[in-house]
């Protein structure tokens, strides 16, 4: 028992430390990538203090952290004190708590474990409700945002919070539907099992259900409040959104939680759809492996996560932000039907796939990949044709008697 507690404590220390460091350095990476995309160089000066050594700006996060610590933490007089304090704590705790069930590797062999036991590289190994736990915690993020905006007692914050609440709750559904196909495929809610089932067949879920991946990825972007779905902040319209009234360490908690959300979304995408720690010819799928393979699995998973994070950063500068009605239309009229279609196709395939594959004389997974691609293409075609996000935002004609007066004046 003490061994398990000790093991869990060590893993928590490593993961929390790594996560905080990663969040700090992701801020730097974000700024550097943004600068490169804008033909600038970005922060590249801060290195080791009191020397002229620059280290490509790697000292910047430390300088930022020290700055945040020494900044005055202003609590405005008009806020609801209790909720004002609760909001960043709730948001941050929920964001970090998710990592209890997220595996960051597979299993370290018993030769390096405590008391000769293998180490599962997840804080709480073999939790049967892993995915449900993740969803339960990620929906608490909504409370953090809503509490913060309400407690701020500021109209702009509140508008941002309302939008954010609507957006986060709306995109929970496509997120869950995108996930449902994966859970049906692997028959388990445990994240380790989902990886193992992909590794065993050697076919990642993105190949057999690309539609599910699209739905999940779009919903994950929206849940992480990143561009092109960053309406909660939307600094051009709402100053800073729900954290306008925050400063000092509390603001930093909000910002770090935002980056942790991004890392979480990348982890989930990598684990659910991109095979987790699996890579062909490199990692295998066996339960017990030697130390080099175990470390290679950690490396592969980290590489996938970093690649996805880089894509998050690219996406920020690639596409314009959606209007709010478009955002809602995408959630309810595009992603939700797509998710349902994906779940139905996957369920159908689990029931009849083997028989169909035998009749066609092909491997089950190969045929399913074809079916998945066809599903994606057809669904996309239907959405393109039906165009559910089109909206005429012009006000209705003023006088009912002559409706043509307000419209089509460009001819005169």
């Amino acid at each position: 028992m003490t061994r398990e507690i000790l093991e869990a404590l060590i893993k928590i220390a490593i993961l929390l430390g790594g996560l905080m460091t990663a969040a700090a350095y992701l801020v730097l990476a974000e700024r550097r990538v943004a600068a490169w995309i804008q033909d600038r160089r970005g922060p590249n000066r801060v290195g080791i203090p009191l020397t002229r050594i620059r280290l490509f700006g790697l000292g910047q996060p430390i300088a930022d952290g020290v700055k945040f610590l020494f900044k005055e933490d202003v609590t405005p007089a008009h806020v609801d004190k209790a909720l004002y304090w609760l909001s960043p704590i709730a948001l941050f705790t929920a964001a970090v708590g998710i990592y209890a069930v997220i595996p960051f590797g597979s299993v370290l062999p018993s030769s390096v474990g405590l008391e000769g036991q293998p180490i599962h590289l997840v804080i709480a190994p073999e939790i049967d409700v892993g995915m449900i736990y993740v969803f339960a915690l990620s929906s608490i993020a909504v409370y953090g945002v809503l509490l913060g905006s309400w407690a701020s007692n500021n109209k702009y914050s509140f508008l941002g919070g309302l939008r954010s609440g609507a957006q986060l709750i709306s995109y929970e559904l496509p997120l869950g539907l995108g996930l449902l196909g994966v859970v049906l495929m692997s028959g388990s809610l445990r994240l380790e099992d989902i990886i193992v089932s992909q590794a065993r067949s050697g076919v990642w879920n993105i190949f057999v259900q690309p539609l599910g991946f699209v739905v999940f990825a779009v919903a994950a972007f929206a849940e992480a409040e990143r561009l092109p779905f960053d309406l909660p902040e939307c600094e051009q319209e709402l100053v800073g959104g729900y954290h306008t009234e925050y400063s000092g360490m509390k603001l930093m908690l909000f910002l770090v939680a935002e980056f942790v959300h991004m890392v979480t979304a990348s982890f989930l995408m990598a684990i659910l759809f991109l095979g987790g720690w699996h890579f062909w010819g490199l990692t295998g799928w066996e339960e017990t492996v030697g130390l080099p393979t175990a470390l290679a699995r950690v490396g592969v998973l980290m590489a996938k996560v970093l690649g996805l994070i880089f894509f998050f950063m690219l996406a920020r500068w690639s596409w314009p932000r959606f209007r709010f009605d478009q955002l809602m239309d995408i959630a309810w009229k595009v992603m939700l039907p797509w998710g349902i279609v994906n779940v139905v196709v996957v369920a159908f395939w689990i029931e009849y796939g083997d028989r169909l594959a035998a009749a066609a004389g092909m491997a089950n997974k190969a045929l399913m990949a074809g079916v998945g691609l066809a599903t994606l293409f057809l669904s996309w075609l239907v959405v393109t044709w039906a165009d559910p996000t089109a909206a005429d935002n012009r006000p209705v004609p003023w006088s009912a008697s002559e409706p043509a007066a307000a419209m089509g004046d460009d001819a005169s």
């Binding site: 490169w36 033909d39 600038r40 160089r41 690639s318 006000p395 007066a405 419209m407 004046d409």
Partner: protein
Amino acid sequence: MKPDDKDIVWIQEPELGYSGRSYVRLFVEGLTTTIKHLVGPKQTIESPEQRYQPPDPLLYRGVHRLNRDEQGRVKCVACFLCATACPAHCIDIVAAESPWPDREKYPESFTIDELRCIFCGMCEEACPVDAIELTSLYDLSGKSREEMIFDKEKLLSVYDQTKDAEPMRSKREPLP
């Protein structure tokens, strides 16, 4: 303003084609543009180590200088045309009787408040004897406001500092 006001012009936005509605084209175009700039050349100059070079130093409007003639005397004849032309009123001239026979007046003191100057170059255009000119020095700084009020000696020293790199502007070829 009511929606049926005569001054409102309703604009019909262009119809999106299938490629636009499917979002695929926008997706690809956005990503390719981003990646092109990600790996493309950078515009930033690493300032203290690399210096910005004005493309044409003789056209740049930086710190002023007071030119000297062939005998090393200040060229200015204290006609006050630059001070009159200056829209920021930053030039202050005290004229005195000239000790030299070729002119009547010379500036006993000639000060320019560089903090007030807007670097429009109208003093240079107004000068009838090409005595005041703007150089390509752009990073002037000082520790106090008084330090930024340049007197005659300072302005003449700017000439000594820049005369080799930047010859008199009146001698340059006219722009095509």
